[in-house]
Symmetry: C2
Subunit: 429 residues, 2 copies
């Protein structure tokens, strides 16, 4: 009998689940206050749906299977194709802008390693139907506010931004022909994982000689703050068609995100469907994988059979984020719900009343736990009450026969007698 979960997946015992819930609650709370509505879709989709966006190459990265009608299906490796399908299906009926979030579990058939599992959760934020820079800024703002909510400041994590059009212009100015631009994006995206000599060779094939690669490297090794667009352009040797980037720069500043964001032309994102801004969230020490990333994808809804619709969004997984919070000591020591009452009995009459008292409290909406131990040692039972962080201990003692109990405030240590029929009101008050 195998008692382990499948390779690359996780069992969530109560302690681990409490942490996961803590993260999901934060994702949800922050999404809602930024005006995003929650959505979700099926755990599996038609295999074709994933091929539309990512080509046939995606199949080997998926857990796929046939249903009884021999239809090809796959467990979702990302939410974006589902989102694009859902938006395309009701594009005209949906109020604009569409602002959606979700927190799906996703599966990828990859080799498990630090920061990467076969099943993980991913927070998705998407805003569609708004072409202006306000959408880029709102989407980035919700990511930053989530980090802040979890105790992560801009000193620890930065949003590194680039813009497809700017990089395209730079590559063109360096001599990459138009039909090689997408290949160049892919090469750049894998730069960190490619040995320099292999990179140089591949770059040459795209029209980038040693000198050009050096110039591009120099550009990418320099970060520019919000408000430094002119310096960035000067360094990049470009000067036209930057209204979009300039407008985004202003929106980031208007939304109060200057501390969180830097421009970094080295951020490419391999996915060819991005059309404008692209960004990733990186720990400033640079040790971990990106916490998340996204960008503008103005052509995707059309690709899925919908109307032309501008869109921008991002995804943030739970694995790298949880590693970061653990390493930085940012998870609260005690996570999880606190009982209102821990009910114990130290008399025969109390034993008989225990189930009824506990059940009445629960049906009155109070979180009540009880001792299942066969002991009358009140000190020991009170320790159990404290261990589960209950606010009050309810002690069914000698007063039980006269319809009352001792209620002990476990923070102050104060103890009082309360009639059983007033217990719920007293504990709520």
């Amino acid at each position: 009998m195998k008692l382990q979960p499948p390779k690359g997946t996780r069992d969530f015992y109560p302690d681990q689940m409490a942490r996961r819930r803590y993260l999901h609650d934060a994702w949800r709370r922050v999404s809602v206050r930024h005006g995003f509505d929650e959505v979700d879709g099926p755990i599996f989709e038609s295999l074709d749906l994933y091929k539309v966006k990512s080509g046939d190459g995606i199949v080997s990265e998926l857990f796929h299977f046939q249903d009884r009608g021999d239809r090809g299906l796959a467990i979702r490796p990302e939410f974006t194709p589902t989102l694009a399908r859902m938006v395309a299906a009701k594009a005209n009926a949906l109020p604009k802008p569409v602002k959606w979030f979700c927190t799906p579990n996703l599966c990828r058939a990859e080799k498990p390693q630090r920061g990467r599992l076969r099943e993980f959760d991913q927070w998705n934020i998407d805003m569609l139907g708004e072409a202006g820079p306000i959408a880029d800024a709102e989407v980035i703002a919700v990511a930053c506010d989530l980090l802040r909510e979890l105790g992560v400041g801009p000193g620890l994590v930065q949003v590194k931004l680039s813009h497809r059009e700017v990089v395209r212009q730079v590559l063109t100015s360096l001599g990459v022909p138009d039909d090689k631009i997408n290949d160049a994006f892919t090469l750049l995206d894998g730069k960190a994982k490619t040995p320099p000599e292999v990179f140089a060779e591949k770059a040459k094939a795209l029209g980038l000689g040693d000198e050009q690669v050096k110039r591009f490297d120099a550009m990418c090794s320099q970060a520019y703050a919000v408000g430094e667009i002119d310096k960035l352009c000067q360094a990049a040797g470009i000067d036209d068609k930057l209204e979009d980037l300039r407008a985004i720069d202003k929106a980031l500043s208007d939304f109060g995100l200057s501390d969180w964001c830097v421009y970094d032309l080295g951020i490419v994102r391999g996915l060819a469907y991005y059309t404008g801004t692209v960004f990733e969230l990186h720990v400033t020490t640079g040790k971990e994988r990106a916490l998340g990333g996204g960008g503008r994808y103005d052509k995707l809804i059309e690709l899925f059979g919908g109307p032309a619709m501008p869109a921008v969004g991002f995804g943030m997984g739970d694995v790298v984020l949880t590693n970061l919070l653990e390493d930085e000591g940012l998870l609260p020591e005690h996570i999880g719900p606190r009982p209102d009452a821990y009910v114990i009995s130290v008399t025969d009459t109390g034993d008989a009343q225990l189930p009824g008292v506990v059940s009445t409290l629960r049906f009155a909406g109070l979180h009540a736990r009880m001792s299942y131990k066969q002991t009358r040692k009140v000190g020991k039972l009170l320790k159990d009450a404290e261990a589960c962080r209950a606010r009050y201990a309810v002690i069914l003692d000698d007063q039980a026969a006269s319809g009352a109990a001792s209620v002990k405030d476990l923070a102050s240590g104060r103890q009082e007698s309360v009639a059983l029929d007033k217990l719920a009101d007293r504990l709520r008050g």
Copy 2:
């Protein structure tokens, strides 16, 4: 391009997702206050894990696939095998009793129909390590409290209870040999869906003649209330080994569940692994499928390689429950989060301030939405604010230039001027 979700699965647009969230929140809230800890496991498990509990026959009901190492995997059709695996793996280290809940999505390769989908959510409640009737009663109590929480009373839904040992004694007394008892349970479980003549024939093969079937039918068509154990036993013609049922009867009464529960020997549950109480939640009109069901399964943890450990639990799906709430008009008209503020601008200065004002409110923890419309018609914009049920409208008007805004309480209609740097405090207060 297929714009529909796969057969038997659902897209959750914001309205549908808000209902789903409403249900999940209730499941979680009630579970927690009854002292259950949340857990979860992988979306897929080894195919063998499901065969252990249900035999090879289960395979055709699963969505199964191979990973790259040719390991057989299946999307979870139920949570119990995962739970049994998790408990067995850490049986000695877990504090007793183990009280767990979870709300997983599950998949079954069956024909979609009313009340039955290929993907659905299921609330699971399990209590392990406690052999006494208090566990049966606690588990049933949490189911009843959930219904109550959603506005469903014991007049609309009843917990129909039976006990494997009682039914076994009845079958034995009617002449079913020991080695046919499990077959008889399976036959009884399918009685409602079996034509009477087919049922009679199959019953005969198990040693039940027409007269015996009639007697059994008579027994099953009679429900007995909590406290009527003696009448039940008399009717069933049994009189020994009923301490367990008698203790459960008392516990149900102690927990205040007498109104919710009736004994009904017709409740069998096909799953052979139940060992004691079995129960199902049925709408009293009898029109719908069961809302959920469960029972005691004292041998299962051993079957999964763990120590002997008593256990009782149940599952409740979202599909039948949602149908019931809809049919009974029990879903609140407005579900979903209410914005604290809806921010609109009717001046040029206001337009420039809008992003900063909204972003500041959100980073201060307030749920703020804004208008994206290019209009200055305040009446129209206030309608939008009301439509999304915002508590306040914040109007960036002529005062914007002097660092203030009009704040309108949308319930009372009262309007006042508030300095922008005091806005978050004012809206929170």
